[in-house]
Assembly symmetry: C2
Homo-oligomer: 483 residues x 2
């Protein structure tokens, strides 16, 4: 020891810089190694420690998870957004992700909003539409705050037809507009005449025809359909080929029995036929309906919403009510259409991460090895992604099984505590939109949900539980004093 | 050496018993170990050795394989069997597998034949039908000898509608009847009133409606459809869920445009919709069309037919023309419907092994892990089966890829030489019929093609090539003598 203290000090400092600073100030040689304890920033680490030891949270997560598992989503029908979406006023546009003012919206979202204003006929041209939005003449709202979800920009305007998905077990409903196809489409920020024309046809022909078909044939149970699609290579976010075909099979005979002119029926079937992503919006509404059943369980750290608006990524926990925990939305790594690159891309956008929140999409990639041709990577990585997600989830879904993994259920019910503690981030498959308004889709790829959302969320949950502890302690003390 | 010869001999004899007999006759102790050299029986071993070293065979197999790969099967239409199947006479029934007289047919095949006689109205009741067949008043023929294939019993009678599949590359056509669904159906040997009624409806409504639909919409390309289905978890023998859905999507809009009454169209779509095996018969015709293109290449040891009639298993090689090489058909291991067991099962039956001959079915199980719920085994075994088949095939199909195996093509084009030399038998997924007439399907499972078919085939091919060698040698000698 005396030799150590009398000689020249040469120190390696791991972690907090203040220790190294003290040595440097006393003329010591110090090598600084960056390191932080598991759990990330101190507040989050403290919250993880507090919540990890808390049986109440485990029990709450189990309760939330069981509600999610028990949910039975069915397609109940189709109606216009303004007729069924709760609290949707006149001149309102809903959008994906957490709420965001016009000025902070990126080009993709603004482009889609301009298109929707034109579709609704609130403005004569794109310039006038943009001016209206800038003057605050259009009410803006987050889909999720209206029991709705929307892919990519997620812009949903009053006259758009929407799927009505009912959770038969708990009675709640969720809504999503109809899928337009790929490429130059509103949800990717395109708003040219062909985009508006297609949306008008969807409102005039597609919506009413499917509405009539569903009235005739009755509800379509989605859990068995989605379970089958998962066994047929879909993960139901970026790959919906099987689910779209299975839905098509359910709709076609009913369409023939509905009294629709043959030409119209054929036109509708061909539109659905030509779009392997047609089921995406149904899957999203189903996932929203299942997860909404798991929301509002006190003390639960289970994630019930992950959503992005192209500017921010936001999550909600079951136990923290309507509060959003947000961070800057990431970019995606993936495959770009010819002529485009990452420099052209919008930040991550869309409510479609509700599929990952429900254990599908990136969480179920092992079921869909063919998807790597669309989003990049290898079949082995697809399997690894699913296995990794098993480390941050409450359980696995008994109905949604993956044949190639010996019929193991998809990992589902993200536990925000595990994300922060294990530093494993949720994987999301998604489409990539052009960053500028009016262009559309430029690729597809993979990204991760940002850590900051989860660390904020568990800090908030820990504070909430601590303040309850204090209240019950002081309540106990008051009760004692009152004797 | 002297010690060895003077002491008491204690010998282990491996292989031929005549050596052991000599030792035993001289009071030696001998342990007999059964063994045979690679290649099995001596004639087959000799043939393997002869053919292995023969470049002509490699080149012939490559040529046959390339013709198979280049084939482009399309659904050309639907017609009655008697209108399109070549050389199909009056009062003729075609059946699966190699040709077989009535007396040697098992219960499944006889049951189906009786049903077809009733369908055609050639006899008033089952007893009369059976008597007619016994008296030889019905001409019997093998489907394969008429460019046709039929699943299970494969019984095809003149008034049945059949798929017409054309190989657009080489111009040949193949035929297969329409799938009736599962359970109590003709192809599994059932022949009750509900079976005949369904077949009559198929002839009166289903066939003509689909015929009309196809005339309106034009041919359906099958290779891209089958390639997609393989990426969606089908192996197209016992699992056709995706392919059936994809075919349904191709047919439905055309059906709406064809001038068919709405009720009829809905009835047809619901029938197809309710049968996930509907595509099987199309897949079989497509495989037959592709493999027929590879037939008739001199000196090729590539297998172009594997087929079973419930009594015999038969194969044909590309290089040995119309000759069948047969052995007793095996039983299947698998999963049985409640109340049935292996004791109730027919021997392996059906032309559906044409799918395995084309690299699908058991050869493509790695693409269809969910199939193990139907035929037994584990997802890992499914992968191992596909990998094993890679050791007995000429190549892999570039269009039929398996995502989970890094998009490797299915192993295709069985080389009979490799089967005998490596003692790896082709794996076949199949349905299991009740052994008695009139009952129907009782399960599904897996079996192997019998070795004897392949050893006979290569002995015949070797003899053929040797006799050609002799002829050309003596031809050469005669030419010399004639100078």
């Amino acid at each position: 020891m005396s030799g150590l203290l009398s000689g020249t000090l040469s120190v390696i400092n791991v972690g907090l810089n203040s220790f190294a600073d003290a040595i440097a100030a006393n003329s010591g040689t110090v090598t600084r190694v960056q390191w932080e304890p598991p759990g990330g920033e101190p507040a989050a680490a403290r919250a993880v420690a507090l919540l990890a030891g808390r049986k109440q949270v485990d029990q709450a997560n189990q309760a939330a998870f069981e509600r999610y598992i028990a949910a039975e989503p069915v397609i109940e029908g189709i109606a216009l957004a303004r007729e069924v979406i709760p609290r949707m006023g006149e001149r309102t546009l809903l959008h994906s992700g957490p709420p965001l003012p016009w000025a902070r919206m990126g080009g993709t979202l603004q482009g889609a909003a301009v298109g929707a204003i034109l579709l609704e006929g609130w403005a004569r041209d794109a310039e006038a539409a943009r001016a209206m939005a800038e003057r605050g003449e259009i009410a803006l709202g987050s889909c999720h705050e209206h029991d709705a979800v929307g892919p990519m920009a997620g812009v949903t305007s009053p006259s758009m037809p929407v799927w009505i998905v009912r959770n038969r077990t708990h009675g709640n409903r969720a809504f999503c507009n109809l899928n337009e196809g790929l490429g130059k489409v509103l949800r990717y920020g395109a708003n040219g005449p062909e985009v508006i024309e297609r949306l008008k046809w969807m409102g005039r022909v597609l919506g009413p025809t499917l509405e009539k078909t569903l009235i005739g044939r009755g509800p379509i149970a989605l859990k068995p359909l989605m379970a089958r699609a998962l066994q047929m290579g879909d993960e139901m976010h970026n790959r919906n080929a099987a689910a779209s075909a299975l839905l098509f099979k359910q709709l076609a005979p009913g369409l023939l029995r509905a009294e629709v002119p043959g030409g119209t029926a054929a036109e509708v079937l061909e539109f659905i036929n030509g779009n392997d992503h047609f089921f995406l919006n149904v899957a999203m509404a189903a996932c929203k309906a299942m997860l909404e059943a798991a929301a509002g369980v006190e003390a639960s750290s289970m994630v019930v919403v992950m959503a992005r608006n192209g500017t921010e990524f936001g999550i909600r926990l079951s136990g923290t009510g309507s509060r959003w925990f947000t961070a800057t939305a990431p970019y995606l790594d993936g495959l770009f259409f010819a002529g485009y690159s990452k420099a052209d891309a919008s930040r991550d956008i869309g409510d479609s991460a509700i599929t990952e929140t429900a254990g599908l999409g990136g969480f179920a990639m092992a079921a869909a090895p063919a998807i790597v041709q669309f989003v990049g990577g290898t079949p082995r990585q697809a399997v690894e992604n699913t296995l990794a997600m098993g480390h941050i989830t409450v359980g696995s879904h008994p109905a949604f099984t993956i044949p190639a993994l010996d019929f193991r259920g998809v990992p589902a019910g993200i536990d925000a505590r595990k994300v922060v503690d294990r530093r494993i981030l949720p994987i999301i498959n998604s489409g990539i939109a052009h960053r500028e308004a009016g262009i559309g889709q430029i690729g597809a790829g993979i990204t991760n949900a940002p850590m900051a959302c989860f660390s904020q969320a568990i800090v908030a949950l820990a504070q909430q539980l601590e303040s309850q502890d204090r209240e019950s302690a002081s309540g106990g003390a008051e009760a004692m004093a009152g004797r």
